[in-house]
Structure formats: C-alpha cells, structure tokens
Assembly symmetry: C3
Homo-oligomer: 306 residues x 3
Amino acid sequence: MRLKGRDIISLEDLSNGEISFIFNTADKFEPIARGKKKSSALAGKVMAALFFEPSTRTRLSFESAMQRLGGNVIGFAEPTTSSIAKGETLADTIKTVEKYSDVIVIRHPKMGAARLAAEVAEIPVINAGDGAGHHPTQTMLDLYTIRKTMGKFKNLNVGLIGDLKYGRTVHSLAYAASRFNNKLFLISPPGLEMPREIVGDLSSQGKEISETSDLREVLPKLDVLYVTRIQKERFSDPAEYAKVKNTYKIELKTLETAKPTLCVLHPLPRVDEISSELDSSPYAKYFDQVFYGVVIRAAILSLLLG
Amino acid sequence: MRLKGRDIISLEDLSNGEISFIFNTADKFEPIARGKKKSSALAGKVMAALFFEPSTRTRLSFESAMQRLGGNVIGFAEPTTSSIAKGETLADTIKTVEKYSDVIVIRHPKMGAARLAAEVAEIPVINAGDGAGHHPTQTMLDLYTIRKTMGKFKNLNVGLIGDLKYGRTVHSLAYAASRFNNKLFLISPPGLEMPREIVGDLSSQGKEISETSDLREVLPKLDVLYVTRIQKERFSDPAEYAKVKNTYKIELKTLETAKPTLCVLHPLPRVDEISSELDSSPYAKYFDQVFYGVVIRAAILSLLLG
Amino acid sequence: MRLKGRDIISLEDLSNGEISFIFNTADKFEPIARGKKKSSALAGKVMAALFFEPSTRTRLSFESAMQRLGGNVIGFAEPTTSSIAKGETLADTIKTVEKYSDVIVIRHPKMGAARLAAEVAEIPVINAGDGAGHHPTQTMLDLYTIRKTMGKFKNLNVGLIGDLKYGRTVHSLAYAASRFNNKLFLISPPGLEMPREIVGDLSSQGKEISETSDLREVLPKLDVLYVTRIQKERFSDPAEYAKVKNTYKIELKTLETAKPTLCVLHPLPRVDEISSELDSSPYAKYFDQVFYGVVIRAAILSLLLG
C-alpha cells in the first residue's frame, strides 16, 4: 500500500485499510517522535505550514513531527503575518508556496479551503482544520490513541460527552468510530445534542447509537469517554449554563462506577470540564493523546513524502 | 571567481561576469531546490532573516533555499515581533544579530537600510528589499527565469507593461536587461510611464528603448512580457482606473499576435492583471519564476558562505 | 558532574562548582557557536521556545544555540500568536508542549511562571526571564564574558552603574559576582540605588560593597564596568532625568582614568548610555557578550539534554 503523493483532506477519503496502514506505520515512529531515536528520513524536505488562522497546538505538533524526521519547516502562524494573502487568490498562494516546499499543511477558517488547495497543488496537501469542515489528523490521533490504549479499535463502547452539536471533532469521531464497528453513546445537555443528520446518517447505516443526557446511565458500559467543552456562548441564560457546566464536569467521583480501564480523552485545550485531579489517575489519556498526535503526523508526513 | 563574504545590496555592485557566475552556479542547485537531491552544504550555518516589514513570499523563498542546503534559519517576520528594534539603532541590531548567524537577509521599509547593515556587519548581508531602493535577488531571479526559459539572456526583446512609474521591480529590471544587451519595450498608461531619469540614463548609454501605451503595437516583436500591477490608488478618477485596468489586462486573446515562445512573467502577487486562463498556457512562466527564486537564493547563499 | 535533565530556573539553584562546570563546557562550544565547526550533538532533538512576552534577542540567541548543535526549534515569539494559552492553564500548556519537545525555554511576564513550568514538566525547563524574577542564562553569560575577557572571575573589582533599583539583570549579577568573591562598586543616581535588601543581604554575608553616585571616585579601581540604562519613566521631573542621563553617559573621555584593561559590559539594547565611539575601543565587550550568550546557551542545552 502506498500513500505517496496523496492529499489528506477528510477521513472519508481514506479506506479503513489505509487508516490501519497509517496506524501500523505510526507504531514504528514512536521512538522518533519521543526524541529517543534519530531519523533523517525527510532530510532536505520542506513542509510549508500555512496557518490562515492561529492554532498553536496543531502547528507545533506538525512542526515537531516534521523536524523529528530530519525535515524542515517554513510558513506562517497567523494571517496578519501573511502578506502572501493580500489580494491574492488562495489558488495563487498555493501555486506559489508549492514551489518552496514538498508538502503543504493548511489551516483555514473557511470550509472547503483545504480541498481547493489540494486541487490546485501538485504536491500533497494536509488539511489541518478548515472551519466547520474537517481536521483529519485530529480524528486519526483520537482513533490511534484509543487503539494504543485499549489494544484495539473495534467493538468498543465509545462515549462522547459535552457539546455534541457544534463540535467538529466529535462529529468526525462519531463517523470514524462507527466505521470501525464501535458502539456510540452520545451524552449531551438538551439543546446541544449531536445533529439529527449525523445520527440519522449513522443509524441508517445500521450503526448502534444510544443517546442520553445523563452520563451515569451509560458510564459503567463505556470503554472510552471523549470529553468536549461546553461553551458559555451557547446559552442565553447564564444560570442554565452554570447548571449544565457543573453537571457535565468530570471529576474522580464522577467516575466511581466506571470500568477501571476507562480511557478518558479530550481534544484540548480544556478549561474546567475535566478536573485536574484526574490527571494523575489511570483514566487520563489526554496528554498521551497529544503525544500520539506527533506520532500520527510523523507517519503521515513520511508516507506522503515516500 | 569567488563571492565568499560579499554583500548583495544592489545589482549594480555585481559585474556581468559575476551575475553569469551566479547563474551558472544556480544551474547546479535546481535539483536541490526541488527537494530531489539532499545537500548538507550549509549544515551548521545560520541565516538571520530580519523582516522589518512583512514579505511572506520573499521570506519563505529565502528560508526554503537555506534549509534545502541543510542550513538553519532564525529571525522575525514583522517588526511587531521584534523587540530587538525598540529604541535601538539599526547598527546595534545588526551588530547583535551577526553574533547569532553567518549571513543576514534584511527587508526594511527605508531605502539605504540594507547598505547601512552591510557597512556595519562583518558577515555577508543580502538586501531583500529596502523600500524604494533595491531588491537584487528579485531582479536576478527575473533574469535567471528568462535565461532558463529562452536559453539566453541577451539580444531579446523585453517588454515591461503596467505601472512603470512606481514599480521598483521594473526599474531594476530595465537597468539589468539593458546591461545584457536586450532591447526594452516600455508599455504603460499615460501618467504611469517609466521615470524620465531612467529612460534618459539608459538612452545616454546607447541602449535601445521603445515606449508606447499600446501593447498591440509591439507585442509581435516581444520575446518576454513582464507584467506589473496597476494600483487603484494611483488614480484620482475611478473611471479612469477601470478603463486602464481593462485595457492592460492580459488574457489569452490579448496574446493572439504574440510569438508562440513568448515568456510572460510577473513578480506576483497578481490580482487580475493576468487572467488565470493563461496559467495553463505555454506563455505562463510566473510560477516557474517563483521556483527559480529559490534556486537563485540557494546559489547566492552557498556562494557567500563559501 | 552531570546536569542532564536539570531545570535552570535561577542561578541560586546551581552551585559554584556547577557554574564553573558549565563555563568549562562552554569553552569547547565556541567554534560551534561561531559556525566554524559543525555539530550534530542535538540532531533529532526539539527545543520549544515559549515566549509569552516578546524578547527577540533572547529568543534568537537560544534558537541559534540549539540549531548550531544540529537541533530543531518550535514555539511562538509572542502571546498573540499563541492560541495555546487561551483559557488554558499554564500547567496544561506545559504538559502539552512537552509532548512535542525535549527541552522547554520559557519567557513569561509573571514571576514564578518558569518555576511552575519546571514543576509540571518532566523534561528540562530553562527560565528565559520571568518578569521581575530571574533570567539565569543572562547572568551566566555576563559572568562568562568577564571570565573570558579578564581570564578569571574572582577577586575583581566589578562596577555596576545606572539604574540599580529596577534592573533584574544587575540584581542577579550583584549576587553572582559576590558569590565568586568579587568586590562590588555600585554607582547610581540618588533614588535609583540598589535595593537595601540586596545590599543588606550581601553585607551580612561579609561581601565587600561600596556605593557612590559618582563614577569618577571609583573608576580607576574597576576591572569591569557593567552599564544599564536609566529610563525616563523613572523620573517625575524631566529636567532631573536629562541631568542624570548626561552625567551617567559613558564616553571615551569618561574613561580617561580607567585601567587600560577595563571591560565595559551592557545587557543591551542600549539607547545612548554608552556612546558609540566606545564600540571600536578595547574597553567595549558588549557585543562579545552577545556572542558568549550563544556559547553559554549551547553549553547548557547540550548538558541538559545529555
């Protein structure tokens, strides 16, 4: 199987076999991503990181991955730095930048921007988030963390909790977890449920989905609990927000009825939806998740650049 | 011939022989600039990119060139990031930064800043644009692209079209093209003609220059057409701007009477002075031009650092 | 002696023996820091430079040091670029960034931030300035420059002149110089004297300290003169500022009674507290000081990363 020259715009462009192939490749990159083993696999290669909106976490993760492999990085961290974009079409910017580089990582506030970049560019393009669109390496690192932690990524009970209405991350993860035959448990306050289109879409494919607003009902069954932030701005009534925020906060005592092997994930940054007392518990895998992001991105960069 | 330790502030500092030497060196750097061949020629070396005004395109091009050669980059992309400059003279900034690096690339809004930096620094300084002054690597990449595309850079009919009054790029190119015995055809709307000093200067040296406001008159003779943007701000009457803008827009049908080998260049970014329908035509060399910028800069960095 | 894995938060955490060990190590890094000798000692390693407030000089110095050793750099140059910090605790930011890197260099406006980062991180943390707190690599480069210039760093007469009240740099240097049995001469205008706590603290340890407002009194005795800027904002009366500024400006004629071997230092940037006519004199060591900053940081990075 070869991914050389491919674009990574949406997880839907990749088959289950290709995703597994990326994961198997990633396993070999762990010591390199950890700085324990040197690599010059991408020496002489240049990654262009074009962040049309800031995302320090994603940018640093990609930059670390590229450099761990001996490669180089150029780019910009936010649009104000980027005179390149002034009055120029995105297509022209891409056709310019690809002359400086071997792979383009693009973050853009507008949905569809990464797809457009990929159509224009002759070199591989990786979507690092395009507004309400996709962020495929985030979803892959979520899946990969589950696989590393649970030893597999199928037939698991995967809970998604928090704001399931607006979160791009949980939408993508819902599709991806279903593709690999995991059962979904959706836990959200009224008004922030997973969009009906997504639930309908997955149900019509015969996927198992359970919905509730009460974590306690389903917690004992869960293998994975993926937590997302509930933002104040979603509520017109501050009192309602305060109530929901407290109800959905994950603390050690919240998890009393959980399996001892429960894997708690979070795309980060967290504010206070997971108590920091959890950090030193065996449940907490969200900082491992950060590290696996580097591993996955190193694997992808390596595969795309052959 | 050796350029080790030299500053590159203005093309006038370089003899025709030296420019040809840089071009011949550049030919060898093409596979490296394309990421097809690894180089560690500048391993352990540090380029300081000091952008006192943003110019993403130029910055990324230099950074790519340096890194393709195995070298490293430090610097800043815009002045707000640069506390280094607060209340400090440019001379002190340069005397500081040269302790961190082996070569300084400087972009500055004020004419003469690069020359000052070169006088102060013991290490080589490359001018990456100093206001209304010079931008010698831009001019060299323009010349080099013509040489690569046409197989030579002499006895060609070189057309410059658009705003010839305010464009630093076309002023430098006019001098450079004349130095190598090419004939100039200047095409501009009334009021945006090439400054009389430059035309007089070149004429008095016996250079052949033809001026017109109508591209059609001269198009069939041209080997090269260098297009620059006409900016709205130059016109007090918006209607006048709209008329000129349309007249000077280059489309496929505009080029019907052109030689089939016509080479169309543009310093980029373009807005709409060249129709995107041209991009896939054999005329369009402006994205090649972007790539040759990396090649030229790699050659220069390599030569200056020995 | 091993410093592998250690944090560098304050000079007080290091014994005199450890500081000497760092200096002895630094001696070997001089040709590497100068770009005369290649090193791949830190190939594959990643330094995260987290600048929560801009400090271009310190950042470029660390980046140069890391890259001279073959290592890589990720990070941000100022907080606006750093979405990583939005609503996230510093602890979480650190626990995230350490997954991308092998060592963290942190600059933060709040005193204590670097110490907190070091407590949270499993990888080494270097304090690159935490508000009114510490900046240990600055103090070490000050000491190291004196050692390189004078051939030793004990039994010297070290003068500190200028604003001794507010300057973090001179406070740290006063403690450090005293630790190595040098005699301090404090020269400052009324109202900007060294804080009484520091003078009392050092006196009670039996350190020799002399205070004056007149440089001429002590100049002939001095081996080192460390100059700091006197800021206008410290004075309510502009006339008072103008008087002090002129009195404390170091010019060639100011130094007529100085030892010929006097070593004049400055943490830079300078405004006009040292006349530029001094730059080419044998007294001026402040640009050497800039270079030794790279040497010291290269040594520290190398030691911490083993």
